[in-house]
């Protein structure tokens, strides 16, 4: 169970959210500037809340009232960024192996091949990262996060940089990820369609606050509003 009660002032913008979720895939939905990425960064430990609490089950990661802040590298929370952030000086298999090395986990050939098969990246293992397509990069980033054996996986608009065809290419992998790995996920997007495919629970963020919370049904009738797209275009 993920529990977040956090306040954070970022310049003019103030984030003030509280929710707890048992969901296998919790969708974080909102337009650009709603605070989705800030919230995910707080969960990952990359951003410290001004006030509040972040906990996974009984493990409290942030509690400002006790001055507690667990740094990102001790959280075991995987993070898949919109821009993949593969290490350019390492090849694909070294990228995949990075989390295992850093966490001092023993090499597990089965786990490795399960993830490689799940994401269909076997043919890419010897490649350098520079010539990969956007979809391939995102699959490697997913595999890299998974192989660090996280207890929670954060996905911040993992399809955001991809065109419609690439999105359609990756989405089935995410569904398999949800059904086969059992790692709970927080999935950030401004596309309600992705959440209807993936999410088991949805948090709707508006201007730094939780506007609605519930099953993906709360998104029924919500398409990506044109004014939201216009807002995005402006950013």
């Amino acid at each position: 169970m993920l529990r977040v009660e956090a306040q954070k002032q970022l310049g003019e913008f103030s984030l003030d959210v509280a929710f707890s979720t048992e969901g296998r895939v919790t969708g974080l939905f909102g337009s650009s500037g709603a605070g989705k990425t800030s919230l995910v960064n707080i969960i990952a430990g990359l951003l410290q809340p001004d006030r509040g609490l972040v906990a996974i089950g009984d493990d409290v990661l942030d509690d400002t009232s006790r001055g507690l802040h667990t740094p990102p590298h001790r959280r075991r929370i995987g993070y898949v960024f919109q821009d993949a952030r593969l290490f350019p000086h390492l090849d694909v298999s070294q990228n995949l192996d990075y989390g295992r090395r850093m966490n001092g986990l023993t090499y597990d050939r089965d786990a490795q091949s399960r993830v490689v098969d799940l994401l269909d990246i076997g043919k890419l293992l010897d490649r350098r990262t520079g010539r990969l397509s956007g979809g391939e990069r995102q699959r490697i980033a997913l595999g890299r996060a998974l192989l660090a054996q996280p207890r929670l996986l954060l996905l911040d608009e993992p399809l955001g940089a991809l065109d419609a065809d690439r999105k359609a290419e990756i989405l089935p992998y995410l569904v398999r990820l949800r059904d086969e790995t059992g790692v709970p996920m927080v999935y950030v997007t401004h596309d309600p369609q992705e959440l209807r495919r993936l999410a088991t629970e949805v948090v709707v963020l508006e201007r730094g606050h939780v506007a609605r919370f519930g099953s993906p049904d709360i998104l029924s009738g919500v398409t990506m509003p044109t004014e939201m797209q216009a807002l995005e275009a402006r950013h």
Partner: protein, 231 residues
């Protein structure tokens, strides 16, 4: 050109030894300083910054004289080092290496600092979410990505060290076989009649060493840059 006398060989080898030792000792320190300046805010940072760049703007004779005052036999640090650790800098080749290291330090630090500043911090964040503590992020992400700058800094530092003259001759004098580098040998040769041919030979050799260092750094930098773009 090829008729190099034993005395000239001594000066050449000494110059190389001094510059190599100065560069190798200064590099780890330079990386640490560059990282601090690039990634940390601390009290007195602008003063620290100025002190590091001071040898670049001070007359080399001044730096040499200050070294003599602090690291000389009776100098504050020099006396302590000589009495307790048996390390003597004054009028030794090690002193030449110290002078060259300090004179080349600003040139060594600057490219390293710039390349560390250019490392995408989002990659460092990604590494930390994968379980890497800060020091491992540095070793596995920041430093490898800053490698072209480290190499550029080392070559610049080496070039400065091998050509250093003013601070070295002030601090450790011009003793053949101990502190007489190529530069001070050329200087001596220009002061005596019939020294021109020998001076020209040494000039040619300095040019050759400098060119070799530049070509080597270019090759390394190209390879490193290619790696950085994931190719």
């Amino acid at each position: 050109m090829l008729d190099i006398s034993p005395a000239e060989w001594t000066a050449i080898l000494l110059s190389i030894r001094v510059a190599v030792v100065a560069t190798l000792v200064a590099t780890p320190l330079g990386i640490a300083v560059a990282w601090l300046l690039a990634r940390r805010e601390f009290w007195g940072k602008s003063v620290a910054d100025a002190i590091i760049y001071l040898p670049l703007v001070l007359p080399p004779v001044v730096t040499g004289y200050l070294l003599l005052l602090t690291f000389g036999r009776r100098g504050l640090i020099g006396a302590w080092l000589a009495d307790h650790l048996g390390i003597v800098f004054a009028f030794r080749w090690t002193g030449a290496a110290l002078a060259c290291g300090i004179m080349s330090f600003p040139l060594l630090v600057r490219p390293i600092r710039l390349s560390i500043e250019a490392v995408d911090r989002r990659l460092e964040q990604a590494a930390s979410t994968l379980g890497a503590p800060p020091w491992r992020v540095f070793w596995t992400v920041t430093l490898p990505l800053a490698l072209p700058g480290v190499l550029a800094g080392m070559v610049l530092g080496f070039a400065k060290a091998i050509g250093e003259f003013g601070a070295t001759i002030t601090f450790v004098s011009n003793i053949p076989g101990e502190t007489q580098t190529i530069s001070s040998a050329i200087y001596t040769l220009t002061q005596v009649p019939d020294g021109d041919a020998a001076a020209l030979r040494l000039v040619g050799i300095s040019i050759a060493i400098a060119m070799a260092a530049l070509v080597a750094s270019e090759i390394f930098a190209r390879r490193a840059t290619k790696r950085l773009h994931g190719l």
